[in-house]
């Protein structure tokens, strides 16, 4: 009889044990930089009225930065909420269901935000 440890000993590391940790840090730094950009941009806008916001997001640079912000923010949100679920939900079935729900919710939210941004970037002046 072989223990689980004995079965894997000597096979080497999967080299992805720190993957989640690294993605959480990387997305935190990206979100920080883009968040500062967003805060400064919003302060500099004359108002947050519809026309002003639409014109601001119709610029290629602003739309691109906003798209990157959406991607890095929702990636970071996904990483963080995953840890919350894994730390506090111990029943395997509930945990699997909540992680599935989290991934779906984040994907849907990011998709809506990105499609909205593309509409503004491509047809912003038409609105």
């Amino acid at each position: 009889m072989e223990t689980p440890l004995g079965q894997v000993r000597g096979l080497g590391s999967a080299h992805e044990g720190a993957g989640h940790w690294w993605h959480e840090r990387m997305s935190s730094i990206a979100t920080l930089l883009l968040g500062i950009w967003l805060a400064v941009s919003l302060f500099r806008l004359p108002s947050l009225d519809h026309g002003v916001v639409v014109e601001w997001l119709s610029s290629t640079v602003n739309a691109s930065a906003m798209l990157l912000l959406v991607v890095s923010t929702f990636w970071h949100i996904r990483m963080g909420l995953q840890v919350f679920i894994e730390d506090y939900v111990h029943e395997e079935g509930n945990k699997t269901f909540l992680l599935l729900l989290l991934n779906f919710a984040v994907a849907i939210a990011a998709a809506i935000a990105i499609v909205a941004l593309l509409k503004l970037a491509v047809g912003g002046s038409a609105v």
Binding site: I29, G35, H50, L57, I77, L81, A109, I112, L117
Partner: protein, 130 residues
Amino acid sequence: MHRNPARPLSPHLTHYRWGPHMLVSILHRLTGDGAAIVGGALLVWWLAAAAGGPEAYASFVQVATLPWLLIIWIPLSWGIIQHTLSGLRHLVMDIGAGYELRANKAMAVATLIVSLLLTALLWVYILGVI
């Protein structure tokens, strides 16, 4: 798992004297997960409303500027600021720095003071402008 009851257990949270590092640690989790859910939803709503046209945007503004919603906006803004500052603290500790008791405590207290200050400044600015 077998456990020998004669062996001592590792002391858990309630055995330690409460310190600012513990408060900042749990606040990092609470503010992060709170801002993720509330802030994430609001970000999507704002962008979708902007793309939806003037009427969709007007209804977003109408709801977002309801005075009683400051109960959400002010804690949300503080949460994002606090999470950012305690996140920077974590990045410092990730490179192996700031573990000396005095420095660690000072950093933890600093995130709390600066986040409250920045939140106050932000809302003085916003409410002053409106």
